[in-house]
Symmetry: C2
Subunit: 447 residues, 2 copies
């Protein structure tokens, strides 16, 4: 256990040195294809995103194992097991939140260890705070769906149910974990009664206030919390709305003339439902301000752009492009903050690959259509065509779950990009893994 060994040498900063800080930023589902898509759309084919200006680049292997046979690898992960790798350094099975495959043993997280050593800690996300990625840093359940008390009657949540003497749902466990700051969505879970069958039972929000949290429904309320006090910001019932909207991709149909009907190119637009939702950048700036100020021992902060993934599941290119750009603006804010703090390690990465691919249209093989017996050449999946900022057409194919009845796109098993800057970035190496990234982060905090 690298984590426990590191704790043993944990001695706080030396005199005259700034405190250590580790900031982990996770673009959910943000693989190399997602990055290229957003870059092409917003900055042009030869553009550069903020995350791409960080001095170190690597690839991280996404490691998972099978629940039924933990000796066997699983080549495609989900946000639960991949965030568990980043949070704990352990490899587990899909759906698990910082618990061990097979045994359900709780795995200590970097946030818990940092907090135990007196550092300040925070979680910021555009999803519900109880969603798998943030949950893996401050909760331990057998299944990611055990988000609130109302979920705990599910069979997969039984091991942690209060009725069985367990610590309860993810939301309850996150309050007990006691991070200094949690900003995101999920009011629907934190607002549930701890005993759903007892109308006199307090809600988790009540319990959070008892534990010293200021519970904020706006960023202004969160910013007005007493300095040094704990903050729980709940800015949506579940996930925050996304910044951009546009057409969803759709299957290509073959018209009566035998020719494919291809969607017309379109541009993305601001999502009017975003309204006065706090941006990821604004939440992140507040987190740095509150955690990074008069802090003697250091900080650990995780920031997630959650809906890059969710919008790709839904085959909504404007959705995932807008969320990736919003995440990239948060990276800009963190990189500027970190640049003046020499013992800060910034890691920007993804948790798993995703379905979207930039493809040529018309097909590279259109000429074959003229030959006898060969039909039209067109992509197999759901297709969208975007008119990019530089005026060209970019065609995106989502084909991991077949039309017409594919409920949503699947994750993919590709390794994911890593961008890093600051103290310890050079320890990462050109090829790493999610558990190894955890170990690098923990060492930086322990120094």
């Amino acid at each position: 256990m690298a984590g426990l060994a590191a704790l043993a040498i944990w001695s706080g900063p030396r005199a005259a040195e700034p405190p250590p800080a580790v900031i982990l930023m996770i673009g959910d589902g943000m693989d190399d294809h997602q990055i290229t898509i957003a870059r092409n759309y917003a900055l042009g084919a030869d553009g550069t995103l903020a995350m791409e200006t960080l001095p170190y680049r690597a690839a991280a292997k996404v490691l998972g194992i099978e629940e039924a046979d933990p000796a066997m690898p699983a080549y495609v992960g989900d946000s639960a097991n991949s965030a568990t790798s980043l949070a704990t350094g352990a490899v587990t099975s899909a759906g698990r939140v910082s618990t061990a495959a097979g045994t359900d043993e709780d795995l200590p997280t970097i946030l818990e260890q940092a907090r135990g050593a007196g550092l300040r800690t925070g979680l910021v996300t555009t999803s519900a705070l109880t969603d798998a990625t943030p949950a893996a840093f401050a909760a331990h359940v057998a299944d990611r769906d055990c988000q609130g008390p109302a979920d705990m009657s599910r069979v997969e949540c039984a091991p942690d149910a209060r009725a069985r003497g367990g610590p309860g749902s993810i939301a309850e466990q996150m309050i007990a974990a006691g991070a200094d700051l949690m900003l995101g969505g999920g009011a629907a879970y934190f607002g549930q009664r701890i005993d759903p069958n007892d109308s006199r039972s307090p809600t988790i929000i009540h319990r959070a206030r008892d534990a010293g949290y200021t519970v904020a429904r706006s960023l202004a309320e969160a910013g007005a919390a007493p300095p040094g006090g704990k903050v729980l910001g709940l800015f949506a019932r579940r996930d925050l709305p996304v910044e951009w909207e546009g057409e969803e991709a759709r299957p290509i149909e073959i018209a009566r003339d035998g020719r494919p009907r291809v969607p017309a190119p379109f541009r993305c637009a601001a999502n009017p439902r975003f309204g006065d939702t706090p941006t990821l950048e604004a939440m992140t700036r507040l987190a740095l301000e509150r955690l990074g100020g008069d802090n003697a021992k250091g900080l650990f902060l995780m920031v997630e752009g959650a809906s890059i993934d969710k919008q790709t599941h839904e085959r909504n290119p404007c959705g995932h492009i807008g969320e990736l750009l919003a995440f990239d603006r948060a990276v800009t804010a963190v990189a500027a903050w970190a640049a003046t703090r020499p013992r800060t390690l910034l890691i920007v990465t993804a948790d798993h690959g995703h379905a979207a691919q930039i493809i040529p249209y018309p097909s590279m093989f259109s000429d074959y259509e003229k030959l006898p017996g060969i039909g039209p050449q067109y992509p197999a999946g759901y297709v969208a065509r975007l008119r990019t900022g530089e005026g060209a057409v970019m065609t995106i194919n989502y084909a991991t779950n077949a039309p017409p009845e594919g409920v949503a796109e699947e994750h993919t098993g590709v390794h994911v990009p890593v961008f890093a800057a600051g103290a310890g970035a050079e320890d990462i190496g050109p090829l790493t893994s999610q558990p190894a990234l955890h170990d690098v982060m923990l060492r930086r905090l322990g120094r």
Copy 2:
């Protein structure tokens, strides 16, 4: 033109310094997904390929433009325009071989400039030497299909036709370019008569011998060529056979019971047709031996693993995995050679992305199949399931060109990985482009 500026300061190595060497290795179509697939299959999910041990890692943007409007970007390239970027530093349109979009102007290549400055030069590939990637370093045509004299009656080849006073086909131009060593396939092109309509016309092989080439049909013959003399090794009529074989991916069919019929997992096997074909590693070792020996001024060598791409077009996972591993063994050989030569820059990269994706099967959304009105969840493309070396099943989806009549898979527009070591690798930066890689290589040779 960065190239011409660099030539002006070209002054040969300083006293007591070893000569500069630049070795560019191109895995054709070898994107991050391809690398993950080969690693999982051969080394396991937590394995490390040889190329991944090189100390620098970056991503390279694949830049292309439209032939009809060169001001407009094209988001998916082919091996011709991407190799042109690497060879010349210029961005051109798909299908072009070191000629400018719109104007057809010849673009000077790094191999030509290195040769002009007295360095030794070589091209090694598993495809025909006249294929787009090697061609772009030593020929200039409007279309990649102008491979031999028999192709030159095509309308797209007219600008270079001998009948119009042009320099002729790719094969003819490559002999005229005069690289010290060319090893690969393509005997069918080099064996053509220069005037296909004249039975007394010499073949390009005759012309090559006149120009001082030893024409070899085996690696032993190539190795026995006079020291310091030129070698043209032609080891297949067109592309070299691939090292591994196995089932092709196929569309999932829905059986009468409404359930998808998914291919059974299989293992890859050695391709018996490979026979005594020289491996890419063996060809590369011979190239280093012949070019890197008593060489005062330095060398430029391009090594291509060509059939990673070709086998992915054909949806043959064992084909592309075997070729990627063969390419990786060539990387091992070059890295060992470079490690003892301090002025050597080694760059390993790909030319463009490709179709293959690792997906989960069963679907992440299988539970939805139990709901009313929702059918089975399965991938949209051609699917193969491999039993990897560690005993688990890896499912691969090829879905850029729809079943049942998709002629072949399409390239994708994702940026590509870059691995580098040695002198000048630190100049690449975490995000680069193919033209920028050319500029880094040319600067190293010019020093």
